[in-house]
């Protein structure tokens, strides 16, 4: 066994099924919140994604991922290109490795004008494809990105996001294959609600055999607030939700009933996605409600074996 490889990387390479969850670090400096979240998922998932200032400003992802690892849960550190240039991003990866973190998910992050610090300056020195290329270069041929070779860096298990619901489809697939060419070993999709569009996208993935080159994991998100989801859809902040699914959650009744309907919908989505040959697994993201994520895992009979 190569101890430089994360267990996620070993599972990816051996073709095993993946069960992931994602948490958002809290907007506080309290480590107990992160530790509690990590403990809730311990033994229930193969790895736990730690988002990087998504939608709000929060405890740093690297610090949170370190806390997660401290609870015996393997973290996936998310790194957005919005807030850091290549100097900070290389430094962050070296710091992650020093702290025992090898799984890095490279993404651009939502535009800062959509969050609470809308007056902030953005960076976007690199896009996610270029960041993947940079990180792979650090562990191999760093000269490919104009940097000097750094000794003893990596290997990293690199990942990214996949966007079945973004346009134009043909360029999204092209971008996805660039991520693979640049070193991505796993990709997590936007939350899936609309199976029809997902199916169109998946056909294209299969046609190009991309699922054989990268582990594609479907994002699952329980709808706990149908009204909020409906409000966010026209702003393109929420992936499309079919009207019948939205209606089902909305008409379920009070908050608790809506939550239960959202969980049931997520479980059904997982069941329907299980039929997609070559899909490598699921990532459950239930911000603020880890119990909902655990319930989905339990009801879908998804285990970590």
């Amino acid at each position: 066994m190569d101890d430089k490889q994360s267990s996620l990387q070993r599972r990816i390479q051996s073709g095993q099924r993946l069960l992931l969850a994602e948490i958002s670090p809290p907007p506080t400096a309290d480590p107990a919140v992160v530790r509690d979240l990590a403990r809730a998922y311990a033994g229930k998932v193969h790895a736990l994604g730690v988002s990087d200032n998504r939608e709000r400003v929060s405890l740093s992802a690297l610090a949170a991922a370190t806390l997660v690892a401290g609870e015996g849960v393997e973290p996936i550190l998310h790194l957005v290109t919005r807030d850091r240039n290549r100097i900070a991003l290389v430094s962050e990866a070296l710091g992650a490795q020093a702290l025992g973190i090898r799984n890095l998910l490279c993404t651009s992050g939502s535009h800062q004008t959509l969050g609470p610090f809308r007056a902030a300056k953005n960076v976007f020195d690199l896009d996610p494809v270029q960041l993947l290329q940079l990180y792979r270069g650090l562990a191999g041929d760093a000269t490919a990105v104009g940097e000097k070779q750094l000794a003893g860096v990596g290997p990293f298990c690199l990942g990214g996001t996949a966007a079945p619901y973004a346009d134009p489809l043909e360029l999204q697939i092209m971008r996805l294959s660039k991520k693979v060419a640049a070193g991505a070993q796993f990709l997590i999709t936007q939350p899936v609600f609309d199976l029809e569009r997902f199916s169109t996208w998946w056909d294209e993935i299969v046609r190009r055999k991309l699922h054989e080159k990268v582990a594609i994991v479907a994002g699952i998100q329980p709808l706990s607030d149908a009204q909020m989801a409906e409000d966010l859809t026209p702003q393109r902040r929420q992936t499309p939700i079919p009207a019948d699914a939205l209606g089902r959650v909305k008409s379920a009744g009070d908050g608790a009933a809506q939550r239960a309907a959202g969980i049931a919908l997520a479980v059904e989505t997982i069941q329907r996605l299980t039929r997609f040959q070559g899909l490598r697994g699921f990532q459950i993201c239930a911000d603020g409600d880890p119990q909902a994520a655990l319930e989905i895992i339990d009801k879908s009979a998804l285990g970590t074996d």
């Binding site: 919005r82 290549r86 651009s108 939502s110 535009h111 004008t113 959509l114 953005n122 976007f124 020195d125 690199l126 896009d127 996610p128 494809v129 270029q130 290329q133 940079l134 490919a144 990105v145 104009g146 996001t161 966007a163 619901y165 973004a166 346009d167 134009p168 043909e170 360029l171 999204q172 092209m174 971008r175 660039k178 060419a181 640049a182 936007q190 026209p234 702003q235 393109r236 902040r237």
Partner: protein
Amino acid sequence: MIVADRKNVREIRAMIQNHQRVLLVGCGTCVTVCLAGGEREVGILGSALRMALRLAGRDQVIVDQVTIERQCEDAFIDALAPRVGEYDAICSLACGAGVQALAERFPNTPVYPGVNTQFIGILESQGVWTEKCAACGNCRLGQFVGICPITRCAKRQFNGPCGGSRDGRCEVSPELDCAWQLIYDRAKALNKLDELEAVVPPLDWSTGLDGGPRKVVREDQCIAGLGPNA
């Protein structure tokens, strides 16, 4: 052209509040074309300021106006020089380059900006201007079928659209076109989609503002024997 937008009268009045004789200077080039700081706009601003000052009981403040052909070239500022001594402040309605050119030329006179310089862009339709160029110093439009992802993609993505592109619109605002949708449509029409397939490596931003303020020197255009410091 350089596109600017007018500042409001209140802001300009606050900037000049400690002055008694103010010269508003318009520019006959870009800001005239984009209707922000040419002769017409300087005239309107002059009237508005005089009216505002009168209402504030400050009729004694003198506000005059003049427009020169181009504020960003010293030779054109010559026409202004004899008058400047009569004023204790200048408000320039040129772009930021013009404001600074006047400040350099008249070291003893405070110079205030009368417009907000926005971008290098074009007249999209009557009364609408849009940004097209970020002046990055290393034009790659040839790689992107003539549509600039540095300027027109809110997240400066070089390898395709982000996950926020939907129905041709950008995640930042439904008012904004997704630059990559535009690149896609044009590349498809030109039968050049395959040219977008190669990974675009990280850029060298040092040719742009990130490398520090820039200077273009054309030795062949410099005065013979004197070089760039003539």
